[in-house]
Symmetry: C2
Subunit: 605 residues, 2 copies
């Protein structure tokens, strides 16, 4: 068993070539006893080689210890474990705790930044924070007010800090930084406030800005080389972004970058997705001819050179958004995936738009693009024929086009809803099965765009929603296993609410995930059979992680209901129609759980 | 073993005579599968007949389920369990949840009162609430703003509500109501704001006031019968309270009533303690001759007729307070305690002043009064000689008299500190061993009185403190076993911090308690040997409780650091000197735990 795993791991982990990455990150993330990066490693596989907890004994798991964070609202992300220390982060006010695993989790230090609470109402989807990065004795915290802080991991003292964005323009920080080589990467939130999104690299040594690549705008801002940057295998040409916008709208054009960032050391490429174009009212974004216009590079996957930030390729998943299908979801890097008999080194991306993409990660060419929820109805499919004039594009069903139906018209029953078939909750990949384990939303919406005007720092949304289970169903979520080579669901478990928690696959043959009611669940990788569940103090929107301490494997997860799915509880909104309808069917969560952030850590007896 | 327990129980529980009490309360509290009253029963024994969890298997306890309350600050008291429902309460804003034990703890209803947050700074020692009362299908909640609410236990709907006190005068509600016969009793907090304390009985049917007995004031306010109300066996005579005050000072004289209330159905007497006289600066309370004056009936145990409120007897534990030795701690009712070869039906009271009193509960005569922490130094002992002119009084050591030393003088090294050798954290009694299990504070203080003037609704304290472990020690607490017949410590376990959690003794031979760092501990009743510990999410100031559901015994406790001992964390005070020194040595708690209210429930696998 163990040797089989080892072979599988060698095959899939081979991409981790220390020479080209940050040596310390590689060293720490290569040791499965740590959880040294927020998604486990640069490939965001969320797979652990630990196998002490396995499908036979997982039923015996018991809570080993717990830790309340002192913060009520939604807890996304996961702690980091490096050596004998565990580092927790919290939502606003973004407290960081260092716990001593050798000494009954005693608090070694606490860092509590003083931030202006006026940032809170500017955070569209709760005051979440998705985690820390660790490298070379420093912890990197990206605060709600967009201050990026490097902390001395030993003492919690600030080594340097720098302000990445402008809260007054609606820019906020929610994403987890990633350290790549000698730089730390951070994104920006605020597409609901009309930001012009960007990804920025700072020197880990002193916090100096190295490069910044915008999502939309002129070539020198988006760092696209008209001749060398490609899309679907061809150079993008000059002004690839601004020529797809009406006038200066790109300046408030969205394309936020608040998701997860993966890195391929061999190719020296960083992968991430971009958010929706602002506003949600497509009529306001139509071209000069009154027709759809792409608004590139919103809703795209972009691959950038880690050193220069220059884009190698970009692929727009959803041109001209009419549904808020943010492209920010993670791109998981896996080598040697078989697509129609050929092996490919790919990235796999489960998009908000309901399609799962398997993409050659060197060329950016999509190999597979299939619905990962059969209920998805806004599009009939993605055109993968290179000779077709609509190559790479999803075919929109006119009935579900909120643009064709027009402003102030309520388009009914679109699947997925604005929060997508998956949102930020990251999927996991297991080399044991070759399958992806995906926490999904199974939600329909009615969508009514309305005219909105832009004021810096004010919401720039322009649509009201109603969210509910797709017709004929009463569940708002599924947890699925996905074959990315074939583009097929292998098994699917119904969940009453969306699964808003990041999954974890382990060499023990188990997949873990959390539910919005608060259960930590373990299922069999092969068939999804439930092997264990435990009710944590609050609903789970955090990501499951694992580590070893003194030869014992632990599995942990934040609980603390919130995020978009839990915004009703987090922000005290009672009715499904509150928050322009953002609360939706999740209002029912009030029957299951209440606010409160804590970490629950389990082990075998 | 079981039959021995049964015999012991019959002996000690015989006082529960249904005819004279509330039949429904008796029925519910007599069933050990419930936890139907905040301290288990009318006698406040905090003993459960359940024995499925015992000293052999308690080591195997595992967390069965958890529930975050959605409130951050200190969680005192415990939930109630009646049948298949568990009722939780929270600190301000005093939310109540009804959970369905038959259906994975789903929330059946939630009651969240709208209270003016201006009450928060008027709560001296955190925004705590000590629990609910249940009788005849109604739940009684006593809110921070002193509103007493009767809720329909089925639906959470308000049946009636009444306002007991006046927040503008510094009166607040923190105590757990108790239902006695057709009445519900509630006290008042606010001796640090110059209230005139009182205990009030309301009709459970409609919330109409039945009687109110003040702690200090004229006979018709304190409901003392000069001829029939006794103290130390003799009638108190006319004006027993006001003649012990200088002028009208009794009107702002303190004597709050925020502790626990016990009830003896046979004698039809309710027992409770009264708080400190206001202010903490004794010089301001001296008699017209400039000397000490008793300030009766502050710092007293009072026994009142349940129907009329008229006092049967009163006993002042600490005349003329100079240290804030509130007498509000609970009086535990036990029958047949052997004192010097004679059996007595007694109440046992562990006072803030460091003495444990064993008192004949019919006559109010003290039988035993001994230090339950050898470090207590402010008094050499209590005079129990009926012929002595100082009968019933503690002998004050002049060196530790903050009055004799005078205002603006810092009296050093007094033991106990203002929060007493025990505060509100209730002790437990086990009929198996005949011993009391007492969570204690082991804290010394420096105390410097200063002149303060009275303004309604403003703090009226008049002393600054410094709190630290007694000389030569480094622990701030002990958990002890006490022989109330002999007045001796049987065993004592050191704890780094005060034990601010209520103990629970069970027929399994185990005693449970929580610690401020967050551990739920189980020790052997016989010798105090630690059998189990588990780290809950936050520091514990709640009281351990137990119940049975579907033939399985569960043990639970709130965690959620706060209360006086945790006020530093709860109110964001960093330094030991903050809050006039109320934070003290507990500032070190920041190294162990953070805020956050949740319930942790454990069972055998």
């Amino acid at each position: 068993m163990r040797s089989k795993i080892a072979v599988a791991l060698c095959a899939t982990m081979a991409m981790a070539a220390p020479a080209l990455a940050n040596d310390d990150v590689i060293k720490n993330t290569s040791d499965p006893n740590n959880w040294a990066a927020t998604s486990g490693d640069y490939g965001l596989q969320r797979f652990s080689k630990l196998d002490q907890i396995n499908r036979e004994n997982v039923k015996d798991l018991k809570v080993a210890w717990t830790f309340s964070t002192g913060v009520l609202r939604g807890h996304e992300g996961s702690p980091l474990v490096v050596g004998n220390r565990l580092y927790l982060h919290t939502p606003f006010p973004n407290i960081v705790y260092a716990l001593d695993l050798d000494n009954e989790q005693k608090i070694l230090w606490k860092y509590e930044p003083k931030q202006d609470p006026s940032v809170i109402p500017i955070m569209c989807c709760d005051t979440v924070n998705r985690g820390l990065a660790y490298a070379e004795g420093k912890l990197f915290l990206y605060r709600a007010d967009t201050t990026l802080v490097a902390l001395d991991a030993k003492t919690g003292a600030e080594v340097w800090k720098t302000v990445n964005g402008d809260v007054k323009r609606g820019e906020t920080g929610t994403s987890a930084p990633v350290v790549v080589k000698d730089k730390v990467l951070v994104g920006i939130s605020g597409a609901e406030f009309g930001v012009q999104g960007y990804l920025t690299a700072y020197s880990i040594a002193d916090g100096k800005k190295v490069w910044r690549g915008y999502s939309v705008g002129p070539d020198d801002q988006i760092l696209f080389d008209p001749a060398k940057t490609t899309s679907l295998g061809k150079p993008v040409g000059k002004d690839s972004s601004i020529k797809t916008w009406n006038g200066d709208q790109w300046k408030i054009g969205g394309g936020s970058t608040w998701g997860w960032y993966s890195f391929d050391p061999k190719l020296n490429l960083v992968y991430y997705g971009t958010g929706n174009p602002s506003t949600w009212n497509p009529a306001q974004r139509a071209g000069p001819d009154g027709k759809q216009i792409d608004q590139k590079w919103s809703l795209s996957i972009i691959a950038r050179d880690a050193d220069t930030g220059v884009a190698a390729w970009a692929y727009q998943l959803t041109p001209f958004d009419e549904w808020d299908y943010d492209g920010i979801n993670e791109s998981i890097l896996v080598d040697g995936i078989d697509v129609k008999g050929e092996k490919h080194d790919v990235l796999v991306h489960f998009d908000r738009n309901g399609f799962a993409y398997t993409i050659d990660r060197k060329s950016g060419i999509p190999l597979v693009a299939e619905k990962y929820d059969p209920a998805v109805n806004w599009s009939t499919g993605v055109d993968l024929d290179p000779k077709s004039p609509t190559y790479g594009r999803p075919a929109v069903v006119a009935k579900y086009s909120t643009f064709l139906n027009g402003a102030d018209v309520n388009t009914k029953g679109i699947v997925p809803a604005a929060l997508g078939t998956k949102d930020q909750q990251p999927a996991a990949y297991s080399p044991l099965t070759g399958l992806f384990y995906v926490p999904t939303n199974h939600v329909a919406m009615d969508y009514e765009p309305f005219k909105v005007s832009y004021t810096p720092g004010q919401p720039y949304v322009g649509a009201t929603l109603s969210m509910f289970p797709p017709e004929g169903d009463n569940n708002l979520g599924n947890f699925i296993a996905w074959d990315a080579g074939k583009g097929k669901i292998v098994w699917s478990n119904k969940e009453p609410f969306s699964v808003w928690s990041g999954a974890l696959a382990t060499a023990g043959g188990v997949v873990f995930y959390g539910t919005l009611e608060g259960y930590l669940k373990a299922v069999d990788q092969k068939d999804g059979k439930e092997l264990f569940k435990f009710k944590t103090p609050s609903g789970i929107i955090g990501n499951v992680f694992t580590y070893t301490h003194k030869d014992k494997q632990y599995v942990g997860v934040y609980s603390g209901i919130g995020g978009w799915a839990g915004i009703g509880l987090a922000a005290g909104l009672d009715k499904p129609t509150d928050g322009l309808g953002a609360v939706g069917g999740y209002a029912g969560l009030r029957d299951y759980t209440a606010l409160g952030g804590s970490l629950t850590v389990l082990s075998l007896p």
